[in-house]
Symmetry: C2
Subunit: 453 residues, 2 copies
């Protein structure tokens, strides 16, 4: 019996794909990274399927790359040569949803927005909302500790993860964490698995925290500034005034220009930045008026304030166009640095200087309230990977970020893409600890090898 036929026997033939044309479509994420060739793709339907794969993989020392929807931006789910891609998108059960406890137990293949919609039927919400939330899975969100636009008020994915069911590298199953809001028994394994990019175990279910859904549409403002520093001052003023925005995004001129070229938003020549902020509080309209005043007081040239749900949707719509507008300009290397919020304007100015120095087009959107920036390095559609000047520019960006006390990745993960800079942030002792922890969970090194750490 071949190694693969043993896998087929342990599962079912239709769950094991080996046709290279098919497996190739499961080998990539949203990056340009060229994957290795998978031995097979397994479509797991149940936890027991995952157990069977991991037992088999341990027996035969086959690397396993867990995969959600493949919407990752760092190469975390990129196939490695000779691996099994363990696709979890068929595990879509919401096993439980308890309005009384404000919790849900979900499988990894549940689409993020589907969980949010299921919660809203009970007046609740699932807060984490990565930009990909209509197509990304909860499992992928957990693996990368995904952020999103609402993080500024509600925190990241880890803040909503209470407990996990995890299949270990050898096929054993553990339950981490709990179903309660608080709990301090044992080490925080839940937090450890979240963000570990499939290198420590395969998450087959999660108990997540739900929150009360806002009862009103998010009151929204969009402010245009002729100076980045003014826009950043407005951000600080809004935070300092205790407005608690539920979203606060900043778009630089290059981003606005890309959107304007595509959809004509009437961009003024003098506009250097746009700030879009929302409040989902009960007194949201009053808060949004206050935020608008603070923008004006900090030099905004123009501020629009929504007076209806539809207007709010139109104002935030500009932000939603950003990524597609950029993709029209070329291939994108999407970065994800995060700095202390007060250094946001310094970082944006640094990015502009880097763009000039290396003659690279960089467009930047920032989750301004979090200090999390997405500089997108745009390069020729015809190239398969970024040219040297883009890598050089990215290298300078990362080093500058770390000098400012920031981090390489706010919400996308290290994956493959940021591994070569990882040691600059963590240092050798932490690296040694990371690998020590990895060995505790995965002594054979078969779980998503070469990623994250």
């Amino acid at each position: 019996m071949t190694v693969i036929s043993e896998l087929v026997a342990a599962l079912a033939p239709e769950k094991v794909l080996t046709d290279p044309d098919v497996t190739d479509s499961y080998a990539r994420d949203r990056t340009f990274l060229e994957p290795g060739r998978p031995l097979a793709v397994v479509l797991a339907h149940t936890r027991d399927d995952v157990v069977a794969v991991m037992r088999w993989a341990t027996e035969h020392r086959v690397p396993v790359v867990p995969r959600g929807a493949g919407t990752g931006l760092a190469g975390g789910a990129t196939a490695v040569e000779g691996c099994v891609v363990l696709a979890l998108h068929k595990m879509t059960a919401i096993r439980e949803l308890s309005p009384a406890d404000e919790t849900a137990v979900v499988e990894p293949g549940v689409i993020t927005a589907d969980l949010d919609r299921a919660a809203r039927e009970h007046g609740l919400m699932y807060a984490p909302d990565p930009s990909s939330y209509e197509i990304s899975t909860i499992g992928g969100n957990l693996a990368t500790n995904a952020g999103g636009l609402r993080c500024v008020k509600y925190g990241v994915t880890r803040d909503s993860a209470m407990g996990l069911e995890v299949v270990l590298a050898d096929g054993r199953v553990i339950n981490t964490g709990r179903r309660t809001v608080k709990g301090v028994t044992g080490y925080d394994l839940t937090g450890l698995f979240v963000g570990s990019e499939g290198t420590l175990g395969v998450i087959t279910a999660a108990t997540v925290r739900l929150r009360r859904a806002p009862s009103v549409y998010p009151a929204t403002i969009a402010a245009e500034f002729t100076s980045l520093r003014d826009a950043a001052s407005a951000v600080s003023a809004i935070i300092a005034a205790g407005c608690q925005p539920s979203l606060m995004e900043m778009l630089d001129r290059n981003t606005l220009k890309a959107i304007d070229d595509w959809r004509n938003i009437g961009l003024e020549d003098s506009t250097r930045a746009m700030l879009i902020a929302q409040s989902d509080a009960v007194d949201g309209p009053a808060v949004s008026e206050r935020m608008a005043e603070l923008c004006t007081a900090n030099g905004a040239a123009f501020v629009a304030v929504s007076s209806s749900a539809q207007e709010a949707e139109e104002l935030i719509g500009v932000r939603r166009m950003a990524y597609q507008a950029k993709e029209r300009l070329g291939k994108c290397l999407v970065e994800d640095v995060c700095v202390p919020r007060s250094l946001l304007p310094d970082m944006i100015e640094k990015i502009e200087a880097i763009a000039v120095k290396y003659d690279v087009l960089i467009t930047t959107v920032a989750h301004a309230g979090d200090g999390n920036l997405h500089p997108v390095f745009i390069f020729d559609h015809a190239l398969t990977e970024p040219p040297p000047q883009v890598w050089a520019a990215a290298d300078e960006l990362f080093r500058e970020t770390l000098r400012m006390g920031g981090t390489l990745t706010g919400e996308h993960g290290v994956g493959l893409l940021k591994r070569r800079w990882l040691a600059l942030e963590t240092g050798p002792v932490t690296e040694e600890i990371h690998h020590g922890i990895k060995r505790v969970f995965d002594p054979l090194g078969i779980l998503n090898p070469g990623k994250a750490i």
Copy 2:
């Protein structure tokens, strides 16, 4: 040179205490647990002192028990025989406080309430507020992942910990986490150290998140119920209505009776439970009226609503008397179970049944919004430790908690006190992982041996 004289030489004579009368006072926490005799107590003033202790301890294989203020309730800081107690309460610097980034960098000996007060000078707050916050240290709070009364709105200590400076068992220093709100580089070592009860490393500084301080006094209600189920229904109704209380405490009849016997609060014979709730929102008075209505609608016999800061203080004052009132009745075994919030009334009824079955006086206060209960088993002042029927009652409590999907400890930690029940919650595979992680950080097993895991 003796082992201790080497330690003295590495530090300074006044930092190393060896007089048994003195060291004994550093050997205990707030439990009744009888400690081992420490070899010495080190009063660390700097990170370098901690480094020196850990290098020396590694060289000589001496166990080290890190200690904050000794306010723990689970024996986490109880000295073990022949150890060095590493006292961190002299490391009291607030190294930085950034209003713009809403962060502070603090040393472990800072008193929790002192950090909160320092933050309030800038319109900010440090949210975690264990009941001991006027005497507990940040280091101890981090080691136990301490909870508190405001958790129901602001989360536990881990939710405020962004990054740590940690001295490892061998004296090497690492920095975990970051100074930014978001960040996903590497495994979540910050979360792992928080709640690890000094078994993985010694925290010598923490970057913590501050939040905007409420601009108003917390509008407060106190409601009396003739039925526990009614009180619990009111809790659920308040949560479901989206009131977002900043505190929600339930006191059972035994607790109220203990307070009434001491301070005469005019307790009615029919009162079975009191619910105290606060809102620190801008519209707190309106929210508190709404919470009062919901109490009435769910059968409250009487509801008081504060109309001034002083009245609010008086209403919450009853809760503050609870622990002292109990200590008058006897020695206390303080427990800390946590159940899914919807099972709070079931748990309270179970506790009442256990009290009858084992003929033990149990008084219970609950952080009702979190499902976190503090049943206090009261026994004779003359005894040095709980009599068998108290342990039997506690044993049944723990098993019942786990059957309900709860956890042994919501916020106090496992320490020594709950170790014998630990495996019931974690299971053998997770235990194996805990010990594997422990070995990565502390291969010689010198850090707080016998605790937490």
